[in-house]
């Protein structure tokens, strides 16, 4: 039996080093003055887009529910963070810029999360196009409400003006900090996807009725996913507010949300790698097309149609990049590790931003995934088959390098 050259812990280390290398690269580019404010601005925008898409990917790709209201949550987070930041200054509370930034974005996320639960509990009883239209409606409601709030316009708070853009927000966003927030977000979402919760959520995606019949509390899990997604959208909003320095209610509109949905579908639903790559790519692409200013939206829409026709599963499908897998591949070319401990080590993979997975690593038992899911609920039997459809079955396959759940999702969606 061939073994992976990396143990679980080593693969964590590799990922951490990978991220650190990426960070050092960013730092080197910024500190040496190679990066103009333009480049830095694009990097910042890309980080915000990555947080938005990876969190949206959780709802669209992992849970399999289409929402068109993510920018509603982003707007809630942005306005909360901006107004809180102004309030802290107005109240004369002394704190460093860094802690003000962090506190406000967490508050923005928390507020978005609360709204996520409020919206999610009733809305998630529906699915498919109906959920899409409900979330779209929600975003529009948020937009209309914000534009009618007196304290959320002009310079804000007590001197606010209704109907105006909120301006004069302190631009506290720091590229390095935002970079690490992005890494944390991706790490959390990656780990969540691989945790017992994540596998349960994938079971719901693949067959909700079967999942609920096997004892999963589907409502709880769906709302949980929705709330997590909303939280990170709120965080992204908080960063956005303190990067751009001004906000207007139109940001909550459905057209903006659709932009992020396009990014997720473009990258491949369910693939964090895909979300990251397409978020970065689709942030940079319009900038590269600036030279063709007049026709760039035309080019963009044609390109989108072509991708949907020729690669409907998105660029990456549900494939994930993994640094440790990549290293393994270098050493065992064409001779992938087999099963057992080695396979599990491979499971401890990382995405581009080098995030390690958890859960399965310690338990090489192939049934572990299924067990975890069933243990989540009380007195459940016969769940292994269903819960196993997601990541739980990963360890069973003879060759973990083969794409695993690529087809499953498409089938799941086409079933009817």
């Amino acid at each position: 039996m061939k073994k992976s050259i990396l143990s679980t812990k080593q693969s964590y280390l590799v990922c951490a080093l990978g991220v650190l290398a990426l960070f050092l690269l960013v730092m080197a580019v910024c500190e040496t003055g190679l990066a103009s404010p333009y480049i830095k601005g694009i990097m910042m925008t890309a980080c915000i887009a990555v947080i938005m898409t990876t969190s949206l990917n959780l709802t669209i790709g992992v849970l399999g529910q289409l929402t068109l209201g993510c920018c509603g949550f982003q707007a809630i987070g942005a306005y909360t963070a901006a107004l809180l930041s102004k309030l802290i200054v107005a109240q004369g509370i002394a704190m460093s810029d860094m802690s003000r930034f962090l506190i406000t974005i967490v508050a923005g996320g928390a507020m978005a999360c609360i709204f996520g639960v409020i919206v999610g509990v009733p809305a998630l009883r529906l699915h498919g196009d109906y959920l899409a239209i409900i979330t779209l409606g929600f975003g529009e409601i948020i937009r209309v409400i914000i534009q009618n709030l007196k304290f959320a316009g002009g310079i804000g708070l007590s001197k606010g003006q209704q109907g105006q853009a909120l301006i004069g927000i302190d631009r506290l966003a720091n590229l390095y900090v935002v970079f690490w927030i992005t890494v944390l977000t991706v790490a959390f979402l990656f780990m969540f996807g691989r945790s017992r919760y994540g596998r349960a959520v994938k079971a719901i995606r693949d067959d909700e009725i079967a999942a609920s019949a096997s004892g999963l509390n589907t409502t709880y899990l769906k709302v949980l996913v929705f709330a997590i997604s909303a939280f990170f959208a709120g965080v992204a909003g908080g960063i956005f507010a303190q990067y751009i320095g001004s906000l207007n209610p139109a940001m909550a509109g459905w057209l903006n949300s659709i932009n992020y949905v396009i990014m997720v579908v473009f990258g491949g639903m369910g693939s964090i790698t895909g979300s990251i790559v397409s978020a970065i790519g689709l942030t940079i692409l319009p900038e590269l097309l600036r030279a063709f200013s007049d026709y760039r939206m035309l080019v963009y829409s044609v390109a989108l149609v072509l991708v949907m026709i020729f690669r409907p599963q998105g660029i990456f499908g549900s494939w994930e990049f993994s640094l440790s897998k990549f290293i393994n591949h270098l050493f065992y070319r064409g001779n992938g590790p087999k099963r057992g401990r080695a396979a599990v080590a491979v499971e401890g993979t990382a995405s581009t931003d080098g995030v390690a997975s958890t859960e399965d690593n310690a338990t090489p038992d192939t049934a572990a995934g299924a067990d975890d899911v069933s243990r989540l609920q009380d007195g459940v039997i016969a769940s292994a088959g269903i819960a196993g459809t997601g990541e739980g079955s990963a360890g069973v396959g003879p060759d973990p390098n083969a794409p695993r759940d690529g087809g499953a999702m498409q089938e799941g969606d086409d079933r009817r």
Binding site: Y38, I167, R171, A173, F179, S246, S293
Partner: protein
Amino acid sequence: MNTRFTAKFVTICAATGLAVSLAGCSGGSLSENSGSDSAAQGNTITLGSITTNSGTAAAYGEAEVAGFKLAISEINKAGGINGKKVKLESMDDKGDPTESSNAFNKLSGDDSVLAVLGPTISATTAAVAPLADQSKLVAIAPAATADSIESGNYLFRACFKDSYQGEIAARFAAKTLKVKKVAVLYGTGDPYSSGTAESFMKEAKQLGLDVVDQESSSSADDTEYSSQLQKIQASGAEFLYAPYYYSIAGPYIIPQARSVGFNGVVMGPDGYDGLKLTDNVSLYNKVYYTTHYSPDDKENSKVADFIKSFRSENKSDPNTFSALSYDTVYMAKQAIEKAGKNPTREQVRKALAGSKFDGVTGSFTLDKTGSPKKSVIVLEMKDGKPVFNSTVKPA
């Protein structure tokens, strides 16, 4: 969350925190000054422009670009600025603040750019204003009217402020038209619409006018206003202030107001310039608007020339956006010429601040907030043609 999951995540968080503190948070800040003081060399002068050329506000951006292009081609025919050819580096921001700030950053990184023309709408201008300060590059917004964007030292504009026009309209209603009962209709989603409406109401109340009804729409580009107009009609108002753009007031608001039986005066701000009319031009009688210039102004020869050359270039009549953006280019030209042979960006700003300017949209001086003080012209629609009514000098 189960404990294992939490524990691992907390570990990663801690590690990240450590990494952040090691990296030191001093760097990576986006608000450091990066102004370049190098003077523009070479044989061309670049003017950057940021306009909204796609999305729902595309018509306004396109009108502005038409104005820019006309002015620049005229300047180049006349020998350029300081003998150098002028090049327009035009960028589309889709009406999105992120795009406009990326576009501005891109322009500010190009040393040959001496001034930025734009952005189009108040939302994108608000995002650009702090960047202009940070990179010490002037931005001259042709038509971003919101009062609130008067921050910083590097943002200038060619248009009135919202509050200014609203006040003048109220005074015109009270003193010239001598009406008593006035009503307001505005779009809450649009800073221009709600800003002018707010200042109109404030001034109207001070002048002792009776604001009998105040109606609003969700956005400034709705198509159906009959419900609100019916209420305004029922309230007995003799005068309606409806600050919207030409594309909304022309085909929708005014005909709908007439069809619900409102026969009083309708008044609007400079957004009414180039009003889109329906076949029945008699509907537009008793419509007034405040604007910058009058087509039949004989004193200002620039107006006739501008309208003539705009028509021959674009096969259509100019609207406010084109007129203001045309002047914006000449404001930039005047400032660059005043700043010297090879001016730096900072010199351009100094030359522009407080300068006096004669253009199509009037003669004015920029005040210390970068907004012009200029006289307002009131036009009245007669058989579908705007006719000069009166001039209101700045207070």
